[in-house]
Symmetry: C2
Subunit: 339 residues, 2 copies
Amino acid sequence: MKRHFVTIKDIAKELNISVATVSRALRNTHDVKEATRQQVLAKAVELKYKPNFNAIGLVKNSSNNIGIILPVITNYYFSTVITGIQEIAFKNGYNMVLYLTDDSADREKDILDELSFSNIDGLLICISSMPDQSDRFQRVIDNGIPIVFFDRVPSGIKTSKIMQDDFNGAYKAVEHLIQSGYKRIAHFAGPAGLLFTEKRLEGYLAALKAHQLPVNQQWIIHSGFSQKCGEEDMLRLLLCDPRPDAVFAVNDRKAVGAILALKKEKIAIGKDIGIIGFTNDPISEIVHPSLTTVEEPALEIGRRSCALLIKHIHKKNFIPEEVILPTTLIIRESTKKSG
Amino acid sequence: MKRHFVTIKDIAKELNISVATVSRALRNTHDVKEATRQQVLAKAVELKYKPNFNAIGLVKNSSNNIGIILPVITNYYFSTVITGIQEIAFKNGYNMVLYLTDDSADREKDILDELSFSNIDGLLICISSMPDQSDRFQRVIDNGIPIVFFDRVPSGIKTSKIMQDDFNGAYKAVEHLIQSGYKRIAHFAGPAGLLFTEKRLEGYLAALKAHQLPVNQQWIIHSGFSQKCGEEDMLRLLLCDPRPDAVFAVNDRKAVGAILALKKEKIAIGKDIGIIGFTNDPISEIVHPSLTTVEEPALEIGRRSCALLIKHIHKKNFIPEEVILPTTLIIRESTKKSG
DNA sequence: GTGAAAGCGCTAACAT
DNA sequence: ATGTTAGCGCTTTCAC
């Protein structure tokens, strides 16, 4: 268990100078002679000196870690967001500490409670789809740990948030459906209570309204985010009378589930029922027929939220920003009436 | 920047006892009166005390972090492995610090070099596909930081390794192809030099040999792991004379690439050319025709490797284990000659 | 069973 | 420009 590493004391001893000078030289403080600095640097390399983060953290009351709390990583969107985060974090000398909630509010609570704040300088959070626990997050912020929320953001907390343009993405999606000739458009929504889910629902509703198309509550089905949910929703939808001729799904996985269900029922996708998703998961290009969808800027969400968090960490009173990134409509086969 | 948290000193002061007693009570050391212990515990909750990991780490020369170094996380296998790791890590009070190499040996080197070992108790590594840098890893181990390798393991380092049964998985895959009536079987391999890639190649070769089938070097194509590589490999393969009637791909993404290329060329998958992959990525069920594949126990790989690493951390001289987990053949449409 | 005090490796006044 | 020293929050002898 006991390992001994080279410390600044070792460097100081070898060079016959004080630890303070070594410390200063290592950190490029300006009141140290260039020659001394070079000596120290050379010696540090020679001795393979590595700073002790615990000691630094203890003095500075900080770590070099940013925590990331999100539901799952086994999907395209989240793993891509993390890739974006890591890019910026690494560049700025921060490590990522990853926490997975499995989309459970209880787990989220446990993680937040057990978090030793000395171990984390700031938090990047995508909340679980369970009931809103805003006060819990507020307490963390009050403790001096900045939080930036992304994708799934809680309402009522004054801090930076970053998301894609869910409303307009949904609007564009539904409008594309309408322009493609579909008239009875259903929506497979996510669980109620999540802001982005509601924004997509609103976008859907607004597009229908703008084009004087009917809203049928039967055609709006709330369920989870999985492919399986998409299949089940579709089976339910097929029982409706009148039956919709298109579906806007809250994400690609549900859309893929819908496609799979339709194929089992031998219903022609595009021709009989058009499908559009949201995310631009690589799977949307591979599924047959390929899935029309709204691309989310996942990588950029990751980069931007990390950059924002770092600003919060550096400036105690950084004014919160709410960033909304644009989405892109990607037209493929699943919304072609004839092909 | 300066935040003040409750410390054991605060608890001691409130209770009129010494910090030593508080420290002992908090850690359930046995030489503290039960009544005192209860008082301390109650006060700790009341004051919302959170241990300072930096201080503990400084004294104990440890963190509570395990580092994970892997190429990318935007794919099913790796993100699932991480999910398994996190499950065990969380249970044991460890945090995961994530590092992405983007499959670059240079980046891997940078990460290893910049790693302040005071920040990490052990490392879980899946090496990049670039030339082997075993000495680099050995140095880390010599410094007292245990490493457990998973999936892509370097040869020549004596530490625990955990992988799926690549040889037998490949053997089963190719044998299934043979039993399905395919006779000219090609292999889309990964980059040369990676152990698991070689094991799969060996399994392929062994199965051919066991069934007295010809080995044609033209039919063995080495390239990257991406879907695009699979497409390109397939295009190249179609030029061969004689032309193979089946392909065993080193992973599902390449297999999917192959399927896509075949569809573009209007060649009947299964009937004209059979395809089998490796991983059981969810995509293999969605692609059309669905992909026969060899399932890897990704979640279990994560769990087991984390459990092993924790043993290494706890016992300085834990005897390294090499674990090989079984794979499962999953038969779908892409290897059906008629259907 | 509890307290006093040293010290983990580093930074940051305060001296010189 | 450099040295001295206190102290970050905690654990751990060593006393009592």
